[in-house]
């Protein structure tokens, strides 16, 4: 849950009709404030919202997609972790779960779909095929999707158990809360080093160095 610091000092003029609150031993004016407001960092709060409302886009190609179906169905019930709103349109989702082998023929399509997702976006490589090609060291199989898209969490297994995928999602939630995912770090970098009007295209390390030097 959110780590909040409750304000306990007296703040006049914040009474609330729903909480008239003269019942406790607190100062009369502080009680409704305490029940209705929290203070926290804005980033922290936004990340808390993001991590608990992941909308996955299942890029299911093979066996792992069947286990993904198990994860979202009633026995394992992914909705307990706030990530069950499965959307098949990349434009409506922020988490791509690549479940299954991605072969070379599928590569350009995976890239297109990743590019269509709005930021901030995350990618989970579910299973060893998506992570590294698995035991298909073969002429038509991509040796891990990180050849073409950035990956935040790799879930091992062939296929991973439903518990394994859930663990992966929880790990991703941790990273999102801390702002440590790739896309969040990039956003932070942009905010620190670049003027606002710069188009948010691909930024190379050389660009950043130039900016730094100019400033």
């Amino acid at each position: 849950m959110v780590d909040v610091k409750r304000v306990t000092g007296p703040t006049p003029g914040m009474e609330n009709a729903a909480n008239p609150g003269p019942k406790s031993e607190m100062p009369r004016e502080a009680e409704p404030f305490r029940q209705n407001f929290i203070t926290t960092k804005l980033d922290y709060f936004i990340n808390w919202g993001r991590k608990n409302a992941l909308w996955p886009m299942p890029f299911g190609t093979a066996c792992c997609a069947i286990e993904f179906m198990s994860v979202v169905s009633s026995h394992y019930d992914l909705s307990r972790f706030g990530a069950e709103v499965v959307r098949f349109s990349p434009r409506q989702s922020d988490l791509m779960i690549v479940a299954g082998t991605v072969v070379d023929k599928m590569g350009p399509i995976l890239k297109t779909i990743y590019d269509q997702m709005p930021e901030p976006k995350w990618v989970i490589a579910m299973g060893v095929c998506a992570s590294s090609g698995g035991f298909y060291r073969a002429y038509h199989v991509m040796q891990g999707i990180d050849e073409i898209v950035p990956v935040d969490v790799y879930v091992p297994g062939c296929p991973p158990t439903p518990e394994g995928l859930m663990h992966g999602i929880l790990r991703l939630q941790d990273a999102i809360q801390k702002g440590e995912t790739r896309v969040q770090r990039e956003q932070a970098l942009r905010a620190r080093h670049l003027p606002d009007d710069l188009p948010q295209a691909v930024i190379t390390a050389a660009d950043l160095a130039k900016r730094k030097g100019a400033a």
């Binding site: 890029f59 299911g60 190609t61 093979a62 066996c63 997609a65 069947i66 286990e67 179906m69 198990s70 169905s73 009633s74 026995h75 098949f88 299954g100 082998t101 072969v103 070379d104 023929k105 599928m106 590569g107 350009p108 399509i109 297109t112 779909i113 035991f135 298909y136 060291r137 073969a138 002429y139 038509h140 199989v141 062939c158 296929p159 158990t161």
Partner: protein
């Protein structure tokens, strides 16, 4: 398209010498008289003199060598002769004999055809040697519709040209691929990157990016091109269908597959016989164990191995559970596509129970790798019969839920009756099998037609319907779930004791306690792990009734630790090859219902 005229046969028939009837491969000689007495050989000798240049009958597979220039004539005779009536071309594949020991000093490349005659209940395999420099042969598309995709796959994998084929281009590998990967001189891991996606309609104004809508005026009619897949919620896998629409009617569709081509066959050539089991799991991953058994049966057939009673019973029970799971997912996802989400949850809960049962047997849920040559990897738990009965007792509840919600549901019937009908003769020409074929009125099930594992001793029905539409496919699957439960109950009643795997240390691992205490067992274990199972040289085709249809494995072994060639005859491949014909003239909204009812699994389709 008509086949190219074939040159006239020589006037004088070739003299029959005994040497001519020797095995092509390893000098396995058989009586010429017995071979010539077979009706297929006799009729072909009469109708196409000189066309058959060799014959072999091994493990019950009749296999003939046919000259390339006579192929069309031979195939026409096979199909039309009243005594033969080989009405299905089950499979086309290739064979590169470059690394085989010299058998007959023949050509490097062979095209291999498998035919089946439903009236005779017999199979025949044709080997057609092709020129090493310029491998070319006439196409069989005018005779059998299934040759279309079969020949395209061989073209993709081996580069054989099929003269007269209407659309000879790559099917599994991507458009920028160079070379033919199943040739023996192609390294298994040489990749070629694909830079962009391609349209299946070359005449489009531009190759359209995914999902972009393009309309073209043809006369005064506006035709709209749309793209479905390969990442589309209704495809359940990785198929891509591009369609030209006239209003809501599909004018023409072009299907593209290969988006999950994981090089199964090349991987098999690079791994030992036992290491292949995990690869077979991932063919039809909805019922992984059925593939294990299909492959194990091929190897056991070549070995001439009898497996223990208990292993047979375990295989039968788990294969039938696999059939139930497969049908559950097919029905569930098919209904989801039509907007009936509830059934999906009803279908998935019992699946979890079956998963738990399988997990108790081998430790894995989905991709089990439980089969082994000569049995199964480990014995079932002691309380297996009780566990299985427990699952069986809870299953009917969920099946009944779906039945009550759907079977007599008017909305469902309106969406499925008369939708996706393929006539019976076309279905046979496309070499359909399994529930989709039985929905067209053909009562054909390998468990009944060619019983294996004692299926003839079980009391069960083969459901058959005549509509051939999506509704009938659904009903047949529902009935088959109940029939499978009947089979499992009977198998559990007579569940035998004894070993779970053969006691033959050249193919099966010795028990662990022996390995730790007995030097012979330790050596056998070491030899088996390091050098692989000892499988004799030869070729077989073995088949089982998988939940989708006839799952066949064509195995060529050269006596080494790895298969020389393992071809999987995937039922879904030939069922799906009819999709363009099936969709023509249909409504675009029926597409999802139709596709889901075919039960195509991408892993098996693309291999």
């Amino acid at each position: 398209m008509t086949p190219r005229a074939t040159p006239e046969a020589p006037e004088t028939p070739v003299e029959h010498t005994d040497a001519r009837w020797n095995s092509r491969f390893w000098g396995h000689t058989q009586g010429a008289e017995a071979l010539r007495a077979k009706p297929t050989v006799r009729v072909l000798e009469e109708a196409c003199p000189g066309a058959v240049t060799g014959a072999e009958d091994r493990c019950g597979d009749l296999s003939l060598t046919v000259r390339a220039q006579d192929l069309v004539r031979v195939a026409t005779t096979l199909r039309d002769h009243p005594e033969l009536r080989y009405n299905m071309l089950l499979d086309v594949c290739g064979l590169d004999r470059m690394l085989l020991p010299e058998g007959d000093g023949g050509e490097r490349f062979h095209a291999v055809y498998h035919f089946y005659s439903m009236t005779q209940g017999k199979r025949v395999r044709l080997h057609v040697p092709l020129d090493s420099e310029k491998p070319e042969v006439d196409s069989l598309v005018p005779l059998y519709a299934s040759a279309n995709w079969g020949e395209r796959e061989v073209f993709d994998m081996y580069g054989f040209k099929f003269r007269g084929h209407p659309d000879l281009r790559r099917i599994l590998c991507h458009e920028e691929f160079v070379g033919h990967p199943l040739r023996k001189d192609y390294p298994p891991d040489r990749r070629h990157m694909l830079s962009r996606t391609y349209s299946s309609f070359p005449g489009l104004p531009a190759d359209t990016p995914e999902g972009q809508r393009v309309s073209v005026m043809e006369g005064d009619v506006e035709k709209i091109y749309i793209n479905l897949g390969p990442s589309h919620p209704a495809t359940h896998g990785t198929f891509r269908i591009q369609a030209r629409l006239d209003g809501e009617i599909i004018d023409e569709s072009r299907t593209e597959i290969g988006y999950l081509h994981r090089c199964f066959e090349k991987m098999c050539e690079a791994h030992t016989f036992v290491q292949i089991f995990p690869f077979t799991d991932r063919l039809n991953y909805l019922s992984a164990f059925n593939n294990n058994v299909g492959y194990a049966m091929a190897v056991e057939k070549l070995l001439g191995l009898e497996i223990p009673e208990r292993a047979v019973a375990i295989r039968v029970i788990l294969m039938e559970f696999g059939r139930i799971m497969d049908h559950m997912v097919t029905i569930g996802t098919n209904l989801v596509d039509m907007g009936a989400l509830t059934n999906f949850w009803y279908a998935y809960l019992p699946r979890e129970e079956i998963y738990t049962l399988i997990e108790a047997c081998c430790g894995a849920r989905l991709t089990v790798s439980y089969g082994r040559i000569g049995g199964v990897s480990q014995d079932v738990p002691e309380n297996f019969v009780a566990l299985a009965h427990g699952v069986l007792d809870r299953l009917p509840e969920f099946v009944d839920y779906i039945d009550q919600l759907i079977t007599k549901n008017v909305i469902f019937q309106k969406r499925t009756r008369g939708v996706g009908v393929l006539p019976r003769d076309r279905a046979l020409s496309y070499a359909w099998s399994g529930p989709v074929l039985r929905a067209t009125g053909v009562q054909f099930d390998l468990r009944r037609a060619h019983p294996y594992y004692g299926y003839e001793t079980y009391d069960f029905e083969i459901p058959v319907r005549t509509g051939g539409d999506v509704y009938d496919r659904y009903v047949i699957r529902m009935q088959e779930i109940r029939e499978s439960m009947k089979i499992i109950r009977q198998a559990l009643e007579r569940f035998p004791g004894g070993p779970h795997i053969v006691d033959d240390w050249t193919v099966a691992l010795p028990p662990k306690n022996e390995v730790y205490t007995n030097i012979e067992a330790l050596m056998a274990h070491f030899k088996l792990v390091m050098h692989g199972a000892k499988v004799p040289a030869g070729e077989v085709y073995s088949y089982t009734e998988s939940p989708v249809g006839e799952l066949g494995f064509y195995l060529v072994a050269d006596g080494g630790p790895k298969p020389y060639r393992l071809h999987c005859r995937a039922p879904g491949y030939y069922i799906f090859s009819a999709i363009d014909e099936n969709l023509k003239g249909a409504m675009i909204s029926d597409f999802a219902a139709n596709l889901g009812s075919l039960a195509i699994v991408a892993g098996e389709l693309d291999r």
